[in-house]
């Protein structure tokens, strides 16, 4: 258990370190495209989540804002 936890923390730290590799504002055109937004079309996603939450025991982990910010 402790080994798994340590490996997970190391993996997260490695990912976080990698995050320092910058995508510059002038390179963000694609990331700003609507198809690259994690939240997608919130209205439609909410309707689908509403249906699924009434048919499954699971919940949560839905998309949050992010990924498609082209602002600079």
């Amino acid at each position: 258990m402790t080994k798994t936890l340590s490996l997970s923390v190391l993996l997260l730290l490695a990912l976080a370190a990698g995050a320092c590799a910058t995508v510059w504002p002038e390179q963000r055109a694609v990331l700003a495209d609507p198809t690259m937004r994690f939240e997608g079309e919130p209205g439609e996603n909410a309707a689908e989540e509403h249906v699924l939450e009434n048919r499954e025991a699971s919940f949560g982990g839905g998309s949050v804002r992010g990924g498609g910010c082209g602002c600079n």
């Binding site: 990912l15 995508v23 609507p34 994690f38 699971s58 919940f59 949560g60 990924g67 600079n72």
Partner: protein, 416 residues
């Protein structure tokens, strides 16, 4: 009396919303006001227990100042169909029939978001009402962007204050002596045969989005939830004795839930398409473990038209106290004599979802508006088919036939 109170609250919310939007529109004539309207029809065909849900929804959002966004929304669920009120398993010699029902849920929402440089803070409130259930929810969200906006963190806390109508059983009444509701008549009134019971919901969520390259981004979302109160279905009875006696569904009063999602998005430049892969794992204190796998592909058909197709697979085991039949004597393990359920969502199951969405957009300018009014217009049509495989669940030994559902959504959005 109760109805009058609800109407007054709904009217007050409507007036507050209209005032908020009036303020927004009045001070933001040069800013964007966005109107989103959509309608969803959900149909689950069955010979005996067909379900139809029609959901009209509308949202109006405005930006009165550069740092402030406000929105109000309305949504209704118009539900009609039939369902088996008493769950029996294959052992008891009980045949149950479906009972027709219909209901309307109205939900009003409103919220505001303040944005300062790289940080945002949002507050949302919702109020929902139907004949047998009232809900109020408050959510606070805070987020920030850093590392050249390549890293985004968002944290949210939501609190639900819900009330569900049940029969007026005393807390001291043994669960096996509690009766189910036969209708919502008298709910949320002074009817001595009805009681209102609280359901408290706390949800925490934290999300981390990261852009790794100009065409690749990932997201991790961790969600935790606590539920406390009456967590069963007040209409559902479960046969708990071989002679056919039933009692109100009896679920534990507490449930802690957790989910972790991982997503990756990659834009394939040569074909102008984005591919998304998602995985979610879920676990709760009722010992349910669920896993979700999802693939999504969205492509520009033309500059103005996008087509999205997605596929989803989900599977879960049953709750610790799940059984298809509670009359077969003492179970070899598990608290199945203490709790009982007729909820098929707590049984072992898997499901497949396949869907598409076609979205068309038009972009205008302040000098050349679409339909002489709009800066931007977007129309969409989406369809999803959902097939559920129930591994254990039966109605008196018969496999349910309402396991294939379809959902059609039509939406329009305009920016003024």
């Amino acid at each position: 009396m109760q109805l009058s109170g609800r109407l007054q609250r709904a009217r007050a919310l409507g007036l507050a919303g209209a005032a908020l939007l009036g303020l927004a529109a009045g001070s933001a004539r040069a800013q964007v006001v966005e109107v989103d309207a959509r309608g969803t029809v959900f149909v689950e065909p069955s010979k005996t227990s067909k379900l139809t849900v029609v959901t009209p929804a509308a949202t109006v959002a405005a930006q009165p100042a550069e740092w402030l966004d406000v929105h109000v929304a309305y949504e209704a669920d118009i539900v009609s169909g039939a369902t088996e009120a008493i769950k029996a398993g294959p052992i008891a010699d009980v045949v149950t029939g479906a009972t027709k029902f219909s209901d309307v849920r109205n939900e009003f929402r409103g919220g505001a978001q303040i944005t300062r440089r790289d940080t945002h803070l949002a507050v949302d409130y919702s109020y929902g009402t139907e004949s047998d259930y009232h809900s109020q929810g408050l959510a606070v969200t805070a987020g920030t962007d850093f590392l050249q906006k390549n890293t985004q963190l968002e944290i949210q806390y939501a609190r639900g204050f819900d009330q569900v109508c049940t029969t007026n059983f005393a807390p001291s009444t043994a669960p096996s002596g509690r009766t189910r509701l036969d209708s919502s008549k008298g709910c949320f009134t002074k009817d001595p045969l009805r009681a209102s019971r609280a359901v408290d919901l706390d949800t925490f969520q934290v999300g981390w989005s990261q852009a790794w390259t100009p065409v690749f981004a990932t997201q991790i979302v961790l969600t935790g939830g606590l539920q406390h109160g009456f967590l069963g279905n007040p209409y559902r009875g479960v046969v708990i004795a071989p002679t056919g006696e039933d009692a109100l569904e009896n679920h534990p009063e507490n449930r802690a839930r957790g989910a972790l999602s991982l997503r990756g998005k990659y834009f394939i430049k040569p074909i102008s398409a984005a591919a998304t892969a998602s995985f979610r794992v879920y676990r709760d204190t009722w010992d349910i473990v669920g896993e979700t796998y999802e693939l999504e592909f969205e492509k520009y058909v033309t500059q103005a038209i996008r087509l999205l197709v997605h596929a989803r697979y989900y599977h879960q085991n049953g709750a610790l106290f799940w059984s298809d039949d509670y009359t077969g004597g003492e179970p070899s393990h598990g608290p199945r004599g203490q709790y009982w359920t007729g909820d098929r969502e707590l049984s072992p199951l898997s499901s497949y979802l396949l869907g598409f969405r076609l979205l068309a957009g038009m972009q205008g300018t302040p000098d050349h508006r679409i339909f002489s009014a709009l800066l931007r217009f977007q129309g969409s049509v989406a369809f999803d088919a959902l097939k559920t495989n129930l591994r254990d669940f039966t109605w008196s030994g018969k496999t349910p036939d309402d396991t294939l559902a379809g959902m059609l959504t039509l939406g329009v959005r305009g920016e003024f």
